[in-house]
């Protein structure tokens, strides 16, 4: 076999290797564009996270403030009843609801993109890359939600206690406490996002390209 067909054949990569998806491309090609496209729904999920985390932050902040009051009154020789552990139940419920909300959002994002996932796998994406894309999406959502919720929670604590406690407020709730609260909220939010993403991520990784191609949305 000589002339026209064999001659211009381009070299085919023979070297063994692994397909890859660098972080920059994962974010710019997939995560940001996808969040932009699904902005409406993501905003609703984000609001859910923000409120759940703000609730957590307010309750934790209240405990800090009560502990402070307790400390001040003990110094002054008075006794004030400590807050009850009952509130922690409410925190758990709020976080659970937020987790379910995030799981649902990611699962929807995966199912409406089954064909896209199949295509990407045909083009060389590994299951790991698909999981990466959805994990980053969820963590971005969780991070923003946690930060927003933490800040909202701090505002809530200030609104609740700054007026009645007047100048004492600075003694029971410092800037450091506020910062700690925002940090804790963000960490909690990232934590629940991670938990929420596990099931959808496994589902996305298991999608077989051949089946995904036949899938009709």
């Amino acid at each position: 076999m000589s002339a026209p067909l064999a001659a211009p054949a381009p070299p085919v990569a023979e070297e063994p290797g692994r397909s890859q998806l660098p972080l920059r491309e994962a974010l710019s090609f997939f995560v940001f564009q996808s969040l932009k496209l699904r902005m409406g729904r993501m905003a609703v999920v984000l609001l859910g996270i923000i409120f759940a985390i703000a609730f957590l932050a307010v309750l934790l902040g209240t405990e800090i403030v009560f502990a402070g009051i307790h400390r001040l009154s003990a110094k002054a020789g008075n006794t004030v009843e400590a807050s009850s552990g009952f509130q922690r139940w409410w925190i758990a419920v709020a976080l659970l609801i937020a987790t379910v909300g995030v799981t649902n959002a990611v699962l929807m994002s995966v199912t409406e993109r089954i064909k896209e996932i199949g295509t990407l796998k045909c083009l060389g994406a590994r299951s790991l890359h698909i999981m990466q894309i959805f994990l980053f999406e969820t963590l971005l959502l969780g991070g923003i939600g946690g930060l927003g919720g933490g800040l909202l929670g701090v505002l809530g604590v200030v609104a609740m206690f700054a007026m009645p406690l007047k100048s004492d407020f600075g003694l029971v709730f410092s800037w450091l406490d506020a910062l700690w609260l925002v940090g804790l909220s963000t960490a909690a939010s990232l934590g629940i996002s991670l938990v929420a993403a596990v099931a959808p991520l496994i589902y996305a990784a298991r999608i077989e390209p051949a089946e995904a191609m036949r899938y009709e949305v």
């Binding site: 026209p4 990569a13 692994r18 090609f29 295509t119 796998k121 994406a125 191609m213």
Partner: protein, 257 residues
Amino acid sequence: MSEATLPAAGGAATALPTAPPPSVVVEGARKFYYMGGEVVRAVDGIDLTIEKGEYVSIMGPSGSGKTTLFNIVGGLTKPTEGTVYIDRTDISKLDASELAWLRCRKIGYVFQTFNLVPIMSALQNVMLPLIFGGIERSEREDRAHDMLKLVGLGDRVNHKPTELSGGQQQRVAIARAFVNNPAIVLADEPTGNLDLKTGLHIIDMMIEMNRARGVTMLCNTHDQKIIKASNRIVWVCDGKVERIEHPGKTLEEAAKT
């Protein structure tokens, strides 16, 4: 990637001594599905050798096992029995990540439904295989641009799929399939969703790509024009090869002229 050499008795025996090894060798491929306790023999013992640079069409009634055969050759489905060699690599011996690499660098896919990623521009879609293939950032955009120019979409690189017509979307898909210089391109009913005129355009483009780049083509189609242009037609029925036709010139004949 684990390489397995062809057995001596493989289908390569028909090739000329100087010819490159065949692109695809399918040996005794069977694929069974289990549905409600019943065995569906989607592919029931197919042997097929496709030479490098050959243009092969698969024909057959729907439900004949065309798509399953196609998926087996494309490394999308593992056969229940039998072996498939792509460029001398036994793909049944590959793990998931090696298979992904094979799909990325050796195989290009063109689908009936185009399957572009909807949130990405034409250029980004064509860049995807280059990203997965680990091509340098600086090189990617140029190559994707060149490819889109080649399919006549040089002025539409930033359009999203929804802003393109069906024919234009399929041209982007062709650019995407060929951009990594694959050894073989699989086209599953590439003109099935297009009108006649646009379909002809797409066919011409694929034939041109096959001739100019020496890329092996396996095309699953009903289109008469593709059939006339192919080196061989493989008729599949009930999961078996019914007959093989040579409508045009065979590769050897074409090489002599």
